[in-house]
Symmetry: D3
Subunit: 159 residues, 6 copies
């Protein structure tokens, strides 16, 4: 049986923390679907199309990856797509409590057929989040090394 | 490629929290090795042989599981045994910080070839640990439903 | 002396976590006032009247409970109503820090005459909050068992 | 119905944090039993008799308080003594996680008939614990204001 | 070499917690710059001019303090102003995680030339934040003792 | 006025996390005293003399550093030595709560004359502690890059 993993998020923008997670998880599954959230309740910083473009640029060198859009209930999406497990990254305690709550709710909605699996962040990226990257970048700070080079170029081209 | 997962611990004694973790992780891998720690620095409550007997009783109904003893450096063991990933359970923030530290240290020792993957505890067992089970049981309290029935019988037979 | 307990919240909507808290606290006091917040700073998902209707449906089987509306400063309300203690539920660390801050501030405003008492959540409902219930329900997910049946019917009738 | 509250601990030694908790909880119940733990697994700093003497000195001015010894399973003791609720204090996150675990385990053992209720520490005593008091006192540091005056005299008399 | 410390914030309004931090930090440096944030992303409760006036009232008795406005990237500001270290206060775990993230990001942007140093809050003010002060004050509650007297008068004059 | 900073610990053994803290703090003070704890309540892994030798090896390239032994009450030591501030490192929430407690207790004992100042760990060393280093090293694992090279040689020479 082939194992298909989902990594969903708004990727607003994708960071080297996300890319590290994707790269490491690739080795644990047969195929990975990256689900870019379309109807994220928080207004997104970048448009859906830009967020998809950036994650394509970030993962162009990786195989067995499909980039898809995702909206609505995660539980419906994973059933429709034949996903075996959902991947989440953990950086800090604040993440942990939110992720615990979501994983326990999803365990009910998944009816025990799909698992949420977690990887711990690489310490190098423990302080990296899309929001801090965006805040620093928008104030003119240097975020090279924290987002993939091609993504940084894309971000600069939109300014 | 077959995926082999390691779940290591002292299982002193094995609880329904452990068993829930094992059962759910079975669906994510091809084979699972349960590594019962032999040289645990904390003195164990039950002998190594009793701990192995209990985990065998707990998992007798499951397939693709091998129970092995484990001592020394985890990084050496996983390389020797051809493990692809190490499984850990997460219950609470206190777990999280310790597990984050161990996973980041092991990421170095594993040289990026083996991952530590985490599952969140089932809320039903969020307060269950080997030490609280042992404490309540040794004071004569009822722990049925928190350890597998066959394990509870075994624990009673040792009194 | 009769002990009167206040359980205040926005109940937007009331969940089985709230109901568990109310049921358990009933055994600790003589009377309980459920104070439905009227001027909650966050915009509420359901109207004040709907939130009151739902909590009435949820507690119709319980005695010694009065449902009241509440706005303004908690310290003023509890003095006006002759409350002896304020009840709060604790689920997770994130709750804890906020609740510690509020309880310490209120201890000043209560002038040592009224206490804030806490009960720990039932593990079965540890991941249940009004916001996650609303999010899943509004996306069409199944929340039965997490809100009282009569409340779920009410929620469906408003769709 | 009269409400009887239990406050159990090793009180090794009793601090002003404990006394603040006892004083505040007195107003919430009809009677309070202070259960001094006899068989505490950690070796105690002061003998059982000294710990009882110190808590008697600390609470001599309070009414409706009974000081008792306690050993074995808490659930057995509270049933035997007709306790309605168990009181615990919360200072910090580290307390919270341990207390959540114990309260959820005890909820099972109490069979829903007895509750664990929590009060938040007074910020003035948020950093006060028996162990830090003992450590500072034994190194000759000044702990006045952090333990009741009569308890401090008693501690000095034992040097 | 003279050590110049920056304490930046929105001070919306300044509290006795802030003032305690400023007073204690004065003893650790030669000069202190208080940087009142001008373009804070959250809409401020008080106007920039009112926030500056209040912090001037709060610190009028202190020497070697300069009150300045601050906007844009912190890293640029500290280089421009010849700051040696940035001061931050820590109250609770929730603070800690956010501060850890910001300090690690700023360490990159500061290129190792400027440090972020932390002081722990005085327990007396552990529950005091600008937002809780504002919430209680705006509902008519008594916040005396939690903000400097002159600041409280100023706040009342604006009602 | 010259600022003298104390960095006290058991350094059992000193790690690159400690060294990073020392190097960064040097830039914030005029002189630094490294106080190697002599009477540490936990039995130390390395002898006092070995711990001193290792920290000397680790800091041989740094100026304005004095290595001293320290026992008894910190508050007495800092007064005797004319220390202006005590330095502590923060890695994780678990550190934070312990450090908050110690800093608040010491603030009393220091009578407001000496401060405890904190630096956040470099993310590169966030998972590094003396105990995990010792555990991995004693099981034959590779800890190069996590302790200074000269310290690692010293540790190997003692095997």
């Amino acid at each position: 049986m082939k194992k298909k993993l989902l990594y969903a998020g708004s990727f607003d923008p994708v960071t080297n923390g996300h890319l590290d997670m994707i790269t490491r998880a690739c080795a644990l599954c047969d195929d990975m679907v990256i689900g870019v959230v379309k109807n994220h309740s928080k207004k997104s910083r970048y448009s859906f199309d830009d967020r998809v473009s950036m994650i394509k640029l970030a993962t162009v060198h990786l195989e067995h990856i499909e980039i898809d859009s995702f909206q609505g209930l995660l539980a419906d999406y994973v059933k429709d797509r034949g996903i075996n497990a959902v991947l989440r990254g953990l950086r800090a305690n604040a993440d942990f409590e939110y992720e615990l709550q979501m994983a326990q709710m999803n365990a009910r909605l998944f009816e025990g057929k799909i698992e949420t699996v977690f990887l711990m962040t690489n310490p190098e990226y423990s302080f990296v989040s899309s929001s801090i990257i965006h805040e620093v970048f928008s104030l003119g700070g240097d975020v090279s090394g924290l987002v993939p080079d091609r993504v940084l170029e894309y971000m600069k081209s939109l300014r």
